[in-house]
């Protein structure tokens, strides 16, 4: 850790990196509506400069040192709160990702937003968001982090509600804001606890705390993370937030803002006590499974991606809770690229469909995947990008997703140990996600790109300005661009030569097999059905159907063979076999309807009941909230006094 | 305390009888007619007869009314006003409840009045009553501001909230300070021993005359008198919040209204027009002021005080009646805009002038 002066260091450059997006945000005040076309150009130019300077920040000097620059902010009760930059590998890589994706989204938005009103407002808000996100990533102090954290939430609120004339968008924005506020409250309480036990809010000084209150502080901070990263109880704002413009979804709700929570967890990971980590891993595991399951049953292309994001974020948080923080962070960087690519690809589809439907009279929901199909031939570039990014999401080999997933899984296997414990449950959750992710990815691609085109119209590929950013992101999903520091390179090598430990290669193979099975199941499941039939929930029927049909076919083949061979002798046997076959079929169907169905229904009922139980406390009644708050206060005072 | 009760309550009843008669007569003369002439000599007993009639009438309770509140509301209107009389200094030696923030108390009491009106209107369960109530409350609350500001101007001058002390300052009984003509000591005209109208507050600081005009307008509005009698505008709202009242309860409401008139007139006289001080000044050896004040401790001292105070007050009441029969009723928007756009800014300006006057001269 070196403490250096301001001018002789990358801090000046960092300050410029921070202030240029703010300048871009301020531009919105000065550009008149008449010359609105200026705004995208200027903002994108500023963002390009920002990106170049951030690259200079990243590659100046040694990557693996931690550099801090602070100045005093204010003094309260003899304790000084500072304000400053903290540049270490984690924040540097985040700076790179944020500026790059922000730049790409700016470029993409030039194409995407041309026909919409409020261009100036849109780009100034993008600038504000980038500023807030960079500030969040660079800040050296938890209080400053909190300020930017709130600012990020605020600009997200404004961007989701960009089309505020739509009541749904306005509601979604309000919902996101309010749920984020709930999390902020937790964060704030956590900060207060830290302030009282640690006497300083410097991130670097938080590691040396030893106090019984640490668990409470960790949980409070984690509540903030829950809301920001859309984790289990507080995740339902994210699918709604898809009402915002698609580039915004790519920037905020896939790559950066929702990653802020994960980033914060990694930042202050040393302070989490084991109890905290248990909670984190459980919440992460449940979120990842719920999110993946949710993605399977959605029909809106953006909502599928939103649930997928929830699932992936849960995966990262589970990884952090289960001792695979490095893998989690790597996955965060990788996820930023391929999910942004997916979102922008989806945006291209929506944009193209929208353009094509401008002249037609019948209103269709262009985001509904049941209305899409056969786009493979009409939008080849988007198709390729989608395939690459989806491959990364599913964790296919030679993509970034494979790399990080395999790292997480191997670390988690070590963590889970050989003896059976609750940790195995978490691990099985991870495997279930590994299985479910290719499945819904396959479903999405199959519905959108294969099959017959649903519309006879003049669909054309999107303009170049929108193609290039998506292609760059796709490139990021197969090359190892975000893997910039040394340990990440090491993990790339370990992909080729699994030498880290013995389980390593086995896990790679196992995960590959899982993915392949998932793809197979998906292929069988989604190819066979008519694409526009409504599929309620993904049950275990697929296996049973598969089983049934192959068994019966094989039997029939055998019986016909036997019939030609000897009718007389084997007749009865064949009859018996047929009867047996029917009986087995009945038994299977009985088991299917009674045991499997009921198990599935039971799970859903219990989940519903449990949800109702927890929801009854959060009943939206302000007086009840007040009541429980005072109850908490009374208990707290009793605790303190007696 | 008890003595005041025995003095004020009969005074109030007697005064009401007189003033109702006076009001009829004055309005009749202003409209060039005779007014009541039948009962008694020159119609003198007309009001007494009316009063007897009112007391005999049936006590009607509307079926849909909130009975308890309906019954109690007239008292809620009357009691706060009657409470206000308890702190008035009636003569140099007689103030029933002498306490140092009496003026403040009076303001509070005046604002309490509105509660009774609201209860009366609500309990009647009648649209007209409700509208009258809303108007009345809006009026009383908005006119409290110019009223308070004008009272504040006097406080700036006399540096006290004690009514007795304010009164003492305005005459020859003043002890520990000197009065100058128009409050300007640089002139060198010492009026401490001259007394009379020269030392009344409006003469000690001539700006206060304009303040008094504001006070007078605001007090008209506070007591729901014309031209601000919108809450009970007979031609629009039947009788406003008192529509459903009749008989003795209505009589109590009317008593409260006339008592309010008297109370605000008392306050105006005490604050601006010399309180119980004589208007006649000492001129050389011709010590009119000393003669019409009486020597401290004697009976005449009390009697002169009460005489001057009550006569000046009744004169102000007559002024109110005069105004009532001269001006037409204002509209609601005129009423509120008069208060907020005219009286309040002017009162603030006058307050600043008064402060500067007191500070600089």
């Amino acid at each position: 850790m070196t403490e250096t002066s301001f001018l002789s260091s990358p801090f000046l450059l960092a300050l410029i990196t921070l202030s240029l997006p703010l300048l871009s945000a301020c531009l919105g005040f000065f550009i008149k509506e008449k010359v609105a076309w200026l705004s995208p150009l200027l903002s994108s130019l500023l963002m390009l400069i920002t990106f170049i300077i951030s690259l200079m920040v990243i590659f100046q000097g040694d990557l693996n040192t931690v550099r801090i620059f602070t100045i005093d902010w204010f003094t309260l009760d003899n304790r000084t709160v500072t304000i400053g930059f903290l540049l270490d590998p984690i924040s540097l890589s985040m700076i790179g990702v944020v500026t790059l994706i922000s730049l790409l989204v700016h470029l993409y938005s030039i194409g995407y937003m041309t026909d919409h009103k409020g261009l100036v407002r849109y780009f100034s808000q993008l600038g504000l968001f980038t500023f807030a996100m960079l500030g969040l990533v660079m800040s050296s102090n938890l209080l400053l982090t909190f300020c930017f954290w709130d600012l990020v939430g605020f600009s997200s609120y404004r961007l989701i509600g960009h089309w505020y004339e739509k009541p749904k968008a306005a509601h979604a924005a309000t919902k996101a804001f309010i749920i984020n506020k709930v999390g902020d409250l937790g964060f704030l309480i956590g900060l207060m606890i830290f302030w009282s036990i640690a006497e300083s809010l410097e991130i670097t000084s938080l590691t040396q705390i030893n106090s019984p209150w640490l668990t409470a502080a960790g949980i409070c901070i984690f509540i903030g993370v829950l809301a920001k990263s859309a984790q289990f109880p507080l995740f339902n704002w994210l699918p709604d937030a898809m009402e915002g413009p698609t580039p915004v979804s790519a920037l905020i709700h896939a790559a950066t803002m929702v990653a802020a929570g994960v980033f914060l967890l990694i930042r202050i990971e040393p302070v989490f006590t084991p109890e905290c980590l248990v909670l984190i891993s459980i919440v992460g595991a449940s979120t990842t499974v719920i999110g993946a399951w949710g993605a399977l049953v959605q029909f809106d292309i953006k909502r599928i991606l939103a649930y997928s994001t929830i699932s992936q974020l849960g995966f990262m948080i589970m990884a952090i809770g289960s001792g695979a923080a490095e893998g989690g962070f790597l996955h965060l960087l990788h996820h930023a690229f391929f999910k942004a690519g997916l979102f922008l690809g989806a945006g291209s589809i929506i944009h193209a469909m929208h353009q094509a439907n401008l002249t037609s009279t019948n209103e269709i929901d262009v985001q509904d995947i049941r209305n899409l199909g056969g786009l493979r031939k009409k939008m080849p570039i988007t198709f390729i990008v989608f395939i690459i990014c989806a491959g990364a999401l599913a964790g296919l080999p030679f993509t970034t997703g494979f790399l990080s997933k395999e790292l997480i899984l191997s670390d988690m296997t070590v963590w889970a140990g050989s003896a059976f414990s609750w940790r195995w449950l978490i691990l099985s959750g991870a495997w279930l996600t590994i299985f479910l992710t290719p499945l819904y990815t396959f479903r999405l691609i199959w519905f959108v790109f294969f099959g017959n085109p649903k519309q006879e119209n003049n669909l054309v590929e999107v303009p170049v300005i929108m193609r290039v950013p998506v292609l760059i992101l796709a490139l990021g999903a197969i090359t190892f661009l975000p893997a910039s520091s040394s340990w990440q390179f090491a993990s790339i090598i370990s992909l080729v030569l699994p030498v880290a430990n013995n389980t390593h290669g086995l896990i790679s193979i196992l995960s590959l097999v899982t993915i392949l099975i998932a793809l197979l199941v998906g292929f069988y499941r989604f190819r066979a059905k008519a694409l526009n039939t409504l599929q309620s929930a993904f049950g275990p029927y697929a296996f049973l159907d598969l089983l049934n049909s192959y068994v019966i076919r094989f039997t029939f083949f055998l019986s016909s063979l036997a019939l030609t061979f000897d009718k007389k002798w084997i007749d009865k046997f064949i009859h018996g076999l047929a009867y047996f076959q029917v009986a087995v079929a009945h038994m299977v169907s009985w088991a299917d309807s009674r045991i499997v169905d009921r198990a599935v229904n039971g799970v859903s009922y219990s989940a519903h009941g449990f949800g109702g139980l927890t929801r009854s406390l959060v009943n939206g009644k302000i007086q009840s909230y007040l009541l429980w708050a005072v109850a908490g206060l009374v208990i707290f005072i009793v605790w303190i006094l007696y | 305390m008890i003595s005041t009760l025995f003095f004020i309550l009969p005074l109030l009843l007697f005064y009401t009888v007189i003033v109702v008669y006076a009001e009829r007569k004055i309005s009749a003369f202003m409209q060039d007619r005779l007014g009541p002439m039948e009962v008694g000599y020159y119609g003198l007993l007309q009001t007494v007869a009316d009063l007897l009639k009112l007391i005999q009438k049936e006590d009607i309770l509307p079926a849909a009314a909130d009975k308890k509140l309906f019954k109690i509301a007239p008292l809620l209107i009357f009691v706060p006003i009657f409470l206000g009389f308890s702190v008035l200094p009636l003569s140099p030696a007689w103030q029933s409840s002498p306490f140092s923030s009496a003026l403040f108390f009076l303001l509070a009491v005046i604002s309490l009045d509105v509660i009774g009106i609201i209860v009366a209107g609500w309990a009647s369960n009648n649209k007209y009553s409700m509208l009258g109530t809303v108007r009345s409350a809006a009026q009383i609350i908005s006119y409290e501001i110019p009223l308070g500001l004008s009272v504040l101007c006097v406080c700036v001058l006399s540096q006290s909230l004690d009514l007795q002390e304010i009164s003492v300052q305005q005459g020859i009984l003043v002890k520990d300070q000197a009065n100058h003509l128009f409050g300007i000591s640089a002139w060198g005209v010492d009026t401490t021993l001259t007394g009379g109208f020269i030392t009344w507050n409006v003469f000690r600081m001539p700006v206060l005359f304009f303040v008094w005009i504001i006070f007078f307008i605001a007090s008209l509005a506070e007591s729901n008198r014309a031209p601000f009698d919108l809450p009970e505008a007979e031609s629009e709202l039947v009788a406003g919040f008192q529509t459903e009242y009749s008989g003795s309860r209505w009589a109590i409401i009317m008593l409260a209204e006339y008592a309010m008139m008297l109370l605000v007139s008392f306050i105006g006289v005490i604050l601006f027009w010399g309180s119980w001080n004589t208007p006649l000044p000492n001129m050389g050896s011709f010590t009119l002021a000393d003669w019409t004040t009486g020597s401290p401790g004697s009976i005449s001292f009390q009697v002169w005080g009460i005489f001057w105070l009550v006569s000046k007050t009744l004169f102000t009441v007559a002024l109110q009646i005069w105004v009532r029969w001269t001006y037409p009723r204002t509209r609601l928007d005129q009423l509120t805009s008069l208060s907020w756009k005219f009286l309040t800014p002017v009162a603030l300006l006058l307050l600043i002038i008064c402060s500067l006057w007191k500070l600089l001269l």
């Binding site: 009541p167 | 140092s100 923030s101 403040f104 609201i118 809303v134 609350i141």
Partner: protein
């Protein structure tokens, strides 16, 4: 005599609060609150805080109560049926309130009040005025700003100067 009046006020305030809690008619509750506030003003006056007592009368009773009653009248559609209020959370609310009450009473050590000589001085008002203009000048001015902001804010909030299109 003074003791007796004090107890009278205490009883009045307790009874009026019970009326607020048990009554379902909002208007009655507001009137009961009025009684409670007046009783409290009386208690203040008996505790040598006459300025505060009158302020309580003037501001609370003359101002806040009128506002509240106005609120009741305007949220009730003029001359509609009496506004009845439902209640909820009785058990939890009572248990928490009583718990808090018991806790406060438990934490309280009984004490006896001795009136200090300074406090019985006659002219409170001048004392208060001097304090307001010297020691408490800053909060006094700030509260003036607060009042102004509130006035403007309340007027803006309550007025419907623009027709709302959101519906």
């Amino acid at each position: 005599m003074q003791e007796f009046v004090l107890y009278l006020f205490i009883v009045a305030s307790v009874v009026s609060i019970l009326i607020i809690i048990l009554n379902r008619n909002v208007f009655y509750a507001a009137l009961a609150l009025l009684v409670c506030l007046i009783s409290l003003a009386g208690i203040y006056a008996l505790l040598n805080a006459e300025f505060l007592a009158i302020t309580q009368l003037l501001i609370y009773v003359g101002g806040v109560m009128v506002l509240i009653i106005f609120g009741i009248m305007l949220t009730n559609r003029i001359s509609g049926k009496p506004l009845y209020v439902k209640s909820q959370n009785w058990i939890a609310g009572i248990s928490i309130s009583v718990g808090l009450c018991a806790m406060i009473v438990y934490a309280y050590t009984p004490m006896t009040l001795q009136t200090s000589s300074a406090n019985t001085a006659e002219n409170h008002i001048q004392q208060i005025g001097k304090e307001l203009m010297s020691t408490y000048a800053a909060p006094f001015e700030l509260s003036g700003i607060l009042l102004l902001v509130c006035l403007v804010g309340a007027a803006l909030t309550a007025s419907s100067f623009k027709k709302n299109t959101h519906g």
